[in-house]
């Protein structure tokens, strides 16, 4: 498929989208699960070097769209994606594109921390190893340590890297998963409710981490916590019944949203 024409951003495009380079662009995206029309004609520009939050009630399509970005929906036989999703102007549904390579560029963190039943070290080293990103043992160790440091976990685990990843607390496990995700040096990090299984302190740590990571990554986070979206993101997209209702600068979405449905949802009025 041809790359899309680079249309200039509209006057009313979010401030963050004008300030940062474009990373992900979706045009006329529809997603179906069999008969169910899960996402309807979605258009969005997601900036690099920023956190974009997807919010909306359960079943609104926000996770579905998130999973379309790394083509995880390919694994669901009944799922069909039409339209166009580009990363760095390259169509990611291009048949010539190597999905494994694509997913190496896109890290993902899930709701429930899911470390491998291996040592802390192995959890982080696994990705770089299979993608051949390290030039030897010392290099690999360097990647593991840096990733753990970036994920804010190194100090807590440096004396027990050989312990099982599953022996860590929930919050630590989630940071381990983030370390694992960033070890392969991705460009995009997708997070699907990364804090919903964590206590407030662990949540605060992850949020702090997200804030630090956004300098170097394009981060997209799905969250059910409006406060979290308001705290960590610069761009917020509100989904409802498969429609992308409103996209805007986070500051504006949470103080003065334009669409009544957004207003009703974020103020807790949705029936």
């Amino acid at each position: 498929m041809d790359a899309m024409v680079n249309t200039p951003l509209a006057e009313n495009a979010p401030r963050i989208a004008r300030e940062k380079p474009l990373k992900i662009r979706a045009r006329n995206v529809d997603v179906y699960y069999g008969e169910k029309h899960a996402i309807k004609g979605l258009n969005i520009d997601i900036p690099d070097g920023a956190v974009s939050a997807f919010i909306g009630p359960s079943g609104c399509g926000k996770s579905t769209f998130l999973r379309s970005i790394n083509r995880m929906n390919d694994t669901i036989p009944s799922c069909r994606v039409t339209g166009n999703i580009e990363i760095d102007n390259r169509d990611i549904y291009d048949k010539k594109l190597d999905v494994v390579q694509l997913r190496a560029r896109i890290g993902m963190v899930f709701q429930k921390p899911n470390p491998f039943p291996k040592s802390i070290y192995e959890n982080v080293a696994y990705g770089p190893k299979i993608h051949g990103l390290s030039k030897g043992k010392a290099d690999l160790e360097e990647i593991v340590v840096t990733s753990l440091k970036k994920a804010g976990l190194f100090e807590e685990v440096k004396d027990r890297l050989d312990h099982s990843g599953t022996s860590l607390s929930g919050g630590q496990q989630q940071r381990l998963c983030i370390a694992r995700a960033i070890a392969v040096n991705p460009e995009v990090i997708l997070m699907d409710e990364p804090c919903s299984a964590l206590d407030p302190i662990a949540t605060a740590r992850i949020e702090e981490l997200i804030d630090e990571l956004r300098q170097n990554f394009c981060i997209v986070i799905v969250t059910h916590s409006m406060q979290q979206a308001a705290r960590v993101s610069q761009l917020t997209a509100f989904f409802h019944l498969g429609n992308l209702v409103e996209v805007g600068d986070t500051d504006e979405i949470f103080t003065a949203p334009k669409d009544k449905r957004t207003q009703d949802y974020i103020t807790g009025r949705f029936g």
Partner: protein, 238 residues
């Protein structure tokens, strides 16, 4: 607007509105009484205003506490958040208006004793204008009518203009007769108080606009109060 899923949240917000309505009612009442005390030379009425100001102060504190509690409990967003912030700000304007009315009431004693009636007439006229502004802006708040709020905001210039003319008039009297300096100063402060009440009313109007639009009013208000730059030319001429 439709209701919150959590009903107690609606009650919290409704409570704030009720308290603000009470405060507004009291401020209006005190201002009206202060003006009456001035126009009817009723110092007893003035004393009532002075004594009652505490009520407004207490209500403001209460409202602030409730607002803070609501923010902590509900973590309000969007219009709900604006609703609460605006309530806090309007409460503070109303409290100031109460103080200014009280100050006018205090001055009534001196003015009533020392001044010929006709001199206080201009002041009473200012008072009535400021009271009208206050009433209109409180109505605009109760009905969330941003157009009405904008009318108040634009019309405050009238009060400013009246203040200018009174300011100049009083200057003339004081220059003519130095014995008038004392009582005229009271009048001048009284006039300034009414002018300030008008400014608080426009603050409230701006807050209503923000509540409705989610954006601050960016226009420049037509200001006609030029007294702070008035040079005392006539004095220099002597």
């Amino acid at each position: 607007m439709s209701d919150h899923i959590v009903k107690a949240y609606d009650e919290d917000l409704a409570n704030l509105k009720t308290m603000l309505a009470q405060m507004g009612g009291l401020a209006e009442d005190h201002l009206a009484k202060a003006i009456d005390a001035l126009s009817k030379r009723d110092t007893k009425l003035a004393d009532v205003v002075i004594a009652q100001d505490e009520k407004i102060d207490a209500l403001e504190l209460q409202l602030e506490e409730r607002a803070i509690l609501t923010i902590a409990k509900r973590q309000p967003m969007a219009r709900d958040l604006r609703e609460i912030m605006v309530a806090i700000r309007i409460a503070s304007d109303l409290e100031r208006i109460g103080d200014l009315a009280k100050n006018i009431a205090k001055r009534t004693h001196a003015i009533n004793e020392q001044l010929p009636r006709k001199l206080a007439a201009g002041l009473t006229r200012m008072g009535r204008l400021s009271l009208e502004e206050l009433k209109d802006v409180l109505d605009a708040y109760t009905t969330t009518d941003d157009n009405k709020a904008l009318d108040v905001w634009r019309n405050d210039g009238e009060l400013d203009a009246l203040y200018n003319s009174i300011f100049r008039e009083l200057l003339t009297y004081m220059m003519e007769d130095p014995r008038m300096i004392g009582p005229c100063t009271h009048l001048l402060f009284g006039a300034k108080n009414f002018e300030r009440i008008g400014d608080h009313a426009t603050n409230i109007a701006e807050n209503i606009y923000y509540l409705v639009h989610g954006q601050p009013l960016r226009e420049e208000r037509p200001k006609k109060d030029t007294t702070s730059t008035t040079a005392f030319d006539s004095m220099n001429e002597r």
